[in-house]
Protein backbone atom coordinates (compact mmCIF):
# COMPACT_ATOMS: atom_id res chain seq x y z
CA UNK A 1 0.00 0.00 0.00
CA UNK A 2 2.70 2.40 1.04
CA UNK A 3 4.68 1.68 -2.09
CA UNK A 4 1.62 2.27 -4.21
CA UNK A 5 1.00 5.59 -2.53
CA UNK A 6 4.55 6.67 -3.10
CA UNK A 7 4.16 5.91 -6.77
CA UNK A 8 1.43 8.51 -6.98
CA UNK A 9 3.28 10.86 -4.70
CA UNK A 10 5.95 11.35 -7.29
CA UNK A 11 5.30 14.84 -8.70
CA UNK A 12 6.12 13.87 -12.28
CA UNK A 13 3.79 10.94 -12.19
CA UNK A 14 1.12 13.03 -10.56
CA UNK A 15 1.45 15.64 -13.26
CA UNK A 16 1.20 13.02 -15.96
CA UNK A 17 -1.99 11.57 -14.50
CA UNK A 18 -3.40 15.03 -13.89
CA UNK A 19 -2.68 16.01 -17.47
CA UNK A 20 -4.51 12.94 -18.70
CA UNK A 21 -7.56 13.67 -16.54
CA UNK A 22 -7.60 17.40 -17.12
CA UNK A 23 -9.38 17.67 -20.53
CA UNK A 24 -12.01 15.19 -19.39
CA UNK A 25 -12.64 17.04 -16.17
CA UNK A 26 -13.22 20.26 -18.11
CA UNK A 27 -15.70 18.52 -20.40
CA UNK A 28 -17.60 16.84 -17.57
CA UNK A 29 -17.70 20.08 -15.60
CA UNK A 30 -19.23 21.99 -18.49
CA UNK A 31 -21.70 19.24 -19.38
CA UNK A 32 -22.80 18.60 -15.79
CA UNK A 33 -23.15 22.26 -14.86
CA UNK A 34 -25.07 23.01 -18.07
CA UNK A 35 -27.47 20.09 -17.53
CA UNK A 36 -27.84 20.89 -13.86
CA UNK A 37 -28.61 24.55 -14.52
CA UNK A 38 -31.06 23.66 -17.30
CA UNK A 39 -32.89 21.13 -15.14
CA UNK A 40 -32.79 23.38 -12.11
CA UNK A 41 -33.94 26.58 -13.77
CA UNK A 42 -36.34 25.36 -16.44
CA UNK A 43 -37.50 21.83 -15.76
CA UNK A 44 -37.86 21.47 -12.00
CA UNK A 45 -41.11 22.85 -10.59
CA UNK A 46 -41.36 25.53 -7.93
CA UNK A 47 -41.76 24.17 -4.43
CA UNK A 48 -45.28 24.48 -3.06
CA UNK A 49 -44.03 25.97 0.20
CA UNK A 50 -40.92 27.89 -0.74
CA UNK A 51 -42.00 28.87 -4.25
CA UNK A 52 -39.32 29.74 -6.76
CA UNK A 53 -36.73 30.44 -4.09
CA UNK A 54 -36.13 26.72 -3.83
CA UNK A 55 -33.99 27.13 -6.94
CA UNK A 56 -31.31 28.77 -4.82
CA UNK A 57 -30.82 25.33 -3.36
CA UNK A 58 -29.16 24.17 -6.58
CA UNK A 59 -26.20 26.49 -6.03
CA UNK A 60 -26.35 26.58 -2.24
CA UNK A 61 -26.40 22.94 -1.20
CA UNK A 62 -23.64 21.74 -3.57
CA UNK A 63 -21.42 24.58 -2.35
CA UNK A 64 -22.02 23.51 1.24
CA UNK A 65 -21.26 19.89 0.36
CA UNK A 66 -18.04 20.92 -1.30
CA UNK A 67 -17.07 23.18 1.58
CA UNK A 68 -17.15 20.22 3.94
CA UNK A 69 -15.68 17.58 1.66
CA UNK A 70 -12.80 19.80 0.59
CA UNK A 71 -11.85 20.30 4.24
CA UNK A 72 -11.95 16.55 4.87
CA UNK A 73 -9.83 15.99 1.78
CA UNK A 74 -7.33 18.54 3.08
CA UNK A 75 -7.24 16.79 6.43
CA UNK A 76 -6.58 13.41 4.79
CA UNK A 77 -3.85 14.70 2.55
CA UNK A 78 -2.24 16.68 5.38
CA UNK A 79 -2.18 13.54 7.49
CA UNK A 80 -0.60 11.71 4.57
CA UNK A 81 1.90 14.52 4.25
CA UNK A 82 2.88 14.29 7.90
CA UNK A 83 3.02 10.51 8.10
CA UNK A 84 4.49 9.44 4.75
CA UNK A 85 6.22 12.70 3.89
CA UNK A 86 4.45 12.79 0.56
CA UNK A 87 5.92 15.43 -1.70
CA UNK A 88 2.54 16.16 -3.27
CA UNK A 89 0.22 15.76 -0.29
CA UNK A 90 1.03 19.07 1.41
CA UNK A 91 0.89 20.91 -1.86
CA UNK A 92 -2.47 19.39 -2.67
CA UNK A 93 -3.90 20.51 0.67
CA UNK A 94 -2.51 23.97 0.02
CA UNK A 95 -3.98 24.02 -3.47
CA UNK A 96 -7.39 22.90 -2.26
CA UNK A 97 -7.74 25.47 0.54
CA UNK A 98 -8.67 28.55 -1.52
CA UNK A 99 -11.18 26.50 -3.52
CA UNK A 100 -12.77 25.25 -0.32
CA UNK A 101 -12.84 28.76 1.09
CA UNK A 102 -14.62 30.01 -2.03
CA UNK A 103 -17.22 27.25 -1.78
CA UNK A 104 -17.76 28.03 1.90
CA UNK A 105 -18.17 31.71 1.14
CA UNK A 106 -20.68 30.90 -1.60
CA UNK A 107 -22.61 28.57 0.67
CA UNK A 108 -22.86 31.38 3.22
CA UNK A 109 -23.86 34.10 0.78
CA UNK A 110 -26.41 32.03 -1.12
CA UNK A 111 -27.71 30.75 2.21
CA UNK A 112 -28.37 34.26 3.42
CA UNK A 113 -29.92 35.21 0.08
CA UNK A 114 -32.21 32.24 0.54
CA UNK A 115 -32.86 33.20 4.14
CA UNK A 116 -34.13 36.70 3.39
CA UNK A 117 -37.30 35.59 1.53
CA UNK A 118 -37.74 32.50 3.71
CA UNK A 119 -37.00 33.78 7.19
CA UNK A 120 -37.33 37.50 6.62
CA UNK A 121 -33.70 38.15 7.55
CA UNK A 122 -30.45 37.85 5.65
CA UNK A 123 -28.71 36.28 8.56
CA UNK A 124 -30.18 34.18 11.30
CA UNK A 125 -27.98 32.42 13.80
CA UNK A 126 -29.08 29.07 12.53
CA UNK A 127 -26.87 26.15 13.51
CA UNK A 128 -25.87 25.37 9.95
CA UNK A 129 -25.07 28.93 8.97
CA UNK A 130 -23.03 29.40 12.12
CA UNK A 131 -21.02 26.22 11.62
CA UNK A 132 -20.36 27.24 8.03
CA UNK A 133 -19.09 30.61 9.21
CA UNK A 134 -16.70 28.91 11.61
CA UNK A 135 -15.55 26.62 8.81
CA UNK A 136 -14.74 29.72 6.78
CA UNK A 137 -12.59 31.00 9.65
CA UNK A 138 -10.76 27.69 9.76
CA UNK A 139 -10.02 27.94 6.04
CA UNK A 140 -8.78 31.51 6.43
CA UNK A 141 -6.52 30.53 9.34
CA UNK A 142 -5.09 27.68 7.29
CA UNK A 143 -4.32 29.95 4.38
CA UNK A 144 -2.82 32.55 6.73
CA UNK A 145 -0.42 29.95 8.13
CA UNK A 146 0.83 29.13 4.64
CA UNK A 147 1.29 32.80 3.99
CA UNK A 148 3.26 33.62 7.11
CA UNK A 149 6.09 31.09 6.96
CA UNK A 150 8.99 31.79 4.65
CA UNK A 151 10.27 28.24 4.69
CA UNK A 152 7.76 26.28 2.65
CA UNK A 153 8.48 22.90 4.18
CA UNK A 154 7.93 24.32 7.66
CA UNK A 155 4.76 26.03 6.49
CA UNK A 156 3.56 22.70 5.15
CA UNK A 157 4.02 20.96 8.49
CA UNK A 158 2.55 23.80 10.54
CA UNK A 159 -0.47 24.00 8.25
CA UNK A 160 -0.90 20.24 8.43
CA UNK A 161 -0.90 20.31 12.24
CA UNK A 162 -3.47 23.09 12.19
CA UNK A 163 -5.74 21.35 9.71
CA UNK A 164 -5.68 18.13 11.73
CA UNK A 165 -6.50 19.94 14.99
CA UNK A 166 -9.31 21.66 13.10
CA UNK A 167 -10.53 18.35 11.73
CA UNK A 168 -10.73 16.88 15.23
CA UNK A 169 -12.54 19.99 16.35
CA UNK A 170 -15.09 20.23 13.55
CA UNK A 171 -17.44 17.52 14.87
CA UNK A 172 -17.21 19.09 18.34
CA UNK A 173 -17.91 22.54 16.95
CA UNK A 174 -20.81 21.18 14.92
CA UNK A 175 -22.25 19.44 17.97
CA UNK A 176 -21.80 22.47 20.21
CA UNK A 177 -23.41 24.80 17.71
CA UNK A 178 -26.39 22.45 17.33
CA UNK A 179 -26.67 22.31 21.11
CA UNK A 180 -26.44 26.08 21.37
CA UNK A 181 -29.06 26.47 18.68
CA UNK A 182 -31.57 24.20 20.37
CA UNK A 183 -31.11 26.18 23.57
CA UNK A 184 -31.67 29.49 21.83
CA UNK A 185 -34.13 28.43 19.16
CA UNK A 186 -35.91 31.54 17.87
CA UNK A 187 -39.62 30.89 17.52
CA UNK A 188 -40.20 31.89 13.91
CA UNK A 189 -37.43 30.04 12.14
CA UNK A 190 -38.62 27.52 9.60
CA UNK A 191 -36.33 24.60 9.05
CA UNK A 192 -34.87 24.00 5.63
CA UNK A 193 -35.65 20.33 5.57
CA UNK A 194 -39.41 20.48 5.65
CA UNK A 195 -41.07 18.15 3.16
CA UNK A 196 -39.30 15.26 1.59
CA UNK A 197 -37.25 16.18 -1.44
CA UNK A 198 -39.02 15.19 -4.63
CA UNK A 199 -37.00 13.56 -7.40
CA UNK A 200 -37.67 16.46 -9.77
CA UNK A 201 -35.60 18.56 -7.37
CA UNK A 202 -33.22 15.85 -6.25
CA UNK A 203 -31.99 15.03 -9.76
CA UNK A 204 -30.79 18.54 -10.67
CA UNK A 205 -29.38 18.88 -7.15
CA UNK A 206 -27.28 15.76 -7.53
CA UNK A 207 -26.18 16.76 -11.01
CA UNK A 208 -25.13 20.18 -9.73
CA UNK A 209 -23.30 18.46 -6.89
CA UNK A 210 -21.36 16.30 -9.34
CA UNK A 211 -20.75 19.37 -11.49
CA UNK A 212 -19.29 21.24 -8.54
CA UNK A 213 -17.13 18.25 -7.69
CA UNK A 214 -15.73 18.05 -11.17
CA UNK A 215 -15.24 21.83 -11.22
CA UNK A 216 -13.25 21.36 -8.01
CA UNK A 217 -11.14 18.67 -9.69
CA UNK A 218 -10.45 20.97 -12.63
CA UNK A 219 -9.37 23.95 -10.55
CA UNK A 220 -7.51 21.64 -8.19
CA UNK A 221 -5.40 20.22 -11.02
CA UNK A 222 -4.54 23.72 -12.20
CA UNK A 223 -3.55 24.81 -8.71
CA UNK A 224 -1.54 21.70 -7.85
CA UNK A 225 0.38 22.12 -11.12
CA UNK A 226 1.08 25.70 -10.10
CA UNK A 227 2.32 24.57 -6.70
CA UNK A 228 4.54 21.80 -8.09
CA UNK A 229 6.04 24.07 -10.74
CA UNK A 230 6.42 26.82 -8.13
CA UNK A 231 8.41 24.51 -5.90
CA UNK A 232 10.58 23.53 -8.83
CA UNK A 233 11.05 27.20 -9.64
CA UNK A 234 12.28 27.97 -6.12
CA UNK A 235 14.61 24.99 -6.23
CA UNK A 236 16.12 26.01 -9.56
CA UNK A 237 16.58 29.58 -8.38
CA UNK A 238 18.46 28.40 -5.32
CA UNK A 239 20.61 26.15 -7.52
CA UNK A 240 21.33 29.04 -9.85
CA UNK A 241 22.44 31.21 -6.95
CA UNK A 242 24.74 28.47 -5.74
CA UNK A 243 26.35 28.08 -9.16
Amino acid sequence: MAIDLHKYANPTRFLRIANAIFPWSIVTTVVLLATGLYLGLFVSPADYQQGETVRIMFVHVPAAWMAMSVYSMMAVSSAAGLIWKHPVADLSAKAAAPIGACFTFLALVTGSLWGQPMWGAYWVWDARLTSMLILLFLYLGYMAVWGSFEDQSKAAKAAAILVLIGAINIPIIKFSVDWWNTLHQPASVATMDGPKIHSSILTPLLIMGLGYTSLFVTIFIIRVRTEILGRRLRMLRVNQLQE
Binding site: T12, R16, I56, C102, I222, I228, L229, L233, L236
Partner: protein, 64 residues
Amino acid sequence: MNEFFEMGGYGNFIWSSYGLSAGVLIFLVIISVRQLRQVERDLAPLEETRRSFRKRPVKEGATS
Protein backbone atom coordinates in the same frame (compact mmCIF):
# COMPACT_ATOMS: atom_id res chain seq x y z
CA MET B 1 -39.73 35.38 -20.70
CA ASN B 2 -40.14 38.20 -18.22
CA GLU B 3 -41.92 35.83 -15.92
CA PHE B 4 -38.94 33.54 -15.98
CA PHE B 5 -36.63 36.33 -14.84
CA GLU B 6 -38.99 37.48 -12.13
CA MET B 7 -39.18 34.03 -10.56
CA GLY B 8 -42.44 34.75 -8.82
CA GLY B 9 -41.15 37.95 -7.28
CA TYR B 10 -37.98 36.43 -5.89
CA GLY B 11 -35.90 37.13 -9.00
CA ASN B 12 -33.48 39.40 -7.18
CA PHE B 13 -32.51 36.79 -4.64
CA ILE B 14 -32.33 33.91 -7.06
CA TRP B 15 -30.41 35.68 -9.78
CA SER B 16 -28.00 37.35 -7.43
CA SER B 17 -27.16 34.02 -5.78
CA TYR B 18 -26.63 32.37 -9.17
CA GLY B 19 -24.68 35.37 -10.39
CA LEU B 20 -22.48 35.49 -7.32
CA SER B 21 -21.76 31.77 -7.50
CA ALA B 22 -20.82 32.05 -11.16
CA GLY B 23 -18.78 35.19 -10.53
CA VAL B 24 -16.76 33.83 -7.64
CA LEU B 25 -16.07 30.49 -9.30
CA ILE B 26 -15.10 32.04 -12.63
CA PHE B 27 -12.86 34.48 -10.78
CA LEU B 28 -11.22 31.56 -9.00
CA VAL B 29 -10.61 29.76 -12.30
CA ILE B 30 -9.12 32.89 -13.87
CA ILE B 31 -6.85 33.56 -10.89
CA SER B 32 -5.66 29.96 -10.81
CA VAL B 33 -4.91 29.88 -14.54
CA ARG B 34 -3.07 33.18 -14.30
CA GLN B 35 -0.88 31.97 -11.47
CA LEU B 36 -0.07 28.84 -13.45
CA ARG B 37 0.89 30.90 -16.53
CA GLN B 38 3.06 33.16 -14.35
CA VAL B 39 4.95 30.23 -12.85
CA GLU B 40 5.39 28.63 -16.25
CA ARG B 41 6.74 31.88 -17.66
CA ASP B 42 9.21 32.27 -14.80
CA LEU B 43 10.26 28.67 -15.04
CA ALA B 44 10.94 28.54 -18.79
CA PRO B 45 14.30 30.45 -18.90
CA LEU B 46 15.60 28.59 -15.84
CA GLU B 47 14.82 25.23 -17.41
CA GLU B 48 16.51 26.43 -20.58
CA THR B 49 19.79 27.32 -18.87
CA ARG B 50 19.69 24.16 -16.85
CA ARG B 51 19.34 22.08 -19.96
CA SER B 52 22.24 23.78 -21.69
CA PHE B 53 24.44 23.29 -18.63
CA ARG B 54 23.69 19.70 -17.96
CA LYS B 55 23.18 18.61 -21.57
CA ARG B 56 20.54 16.17 -20.56
CA PRO B 57 16.79 16.30 -20.98
CA VAL B 58 14.77 17.61 -18.12
CA LYS B 59 12.22 15.27 -16.69
CA GLU B 60 9.15 14.99 -18.79
CA GLY B 61 6.02 16.58 -17.39
CA ALA B 62 7.75 19.27 -15.41
CA THR B 63 8.11 21.46 -18.47
CA SER B 64 4.88 20.75 -20.31
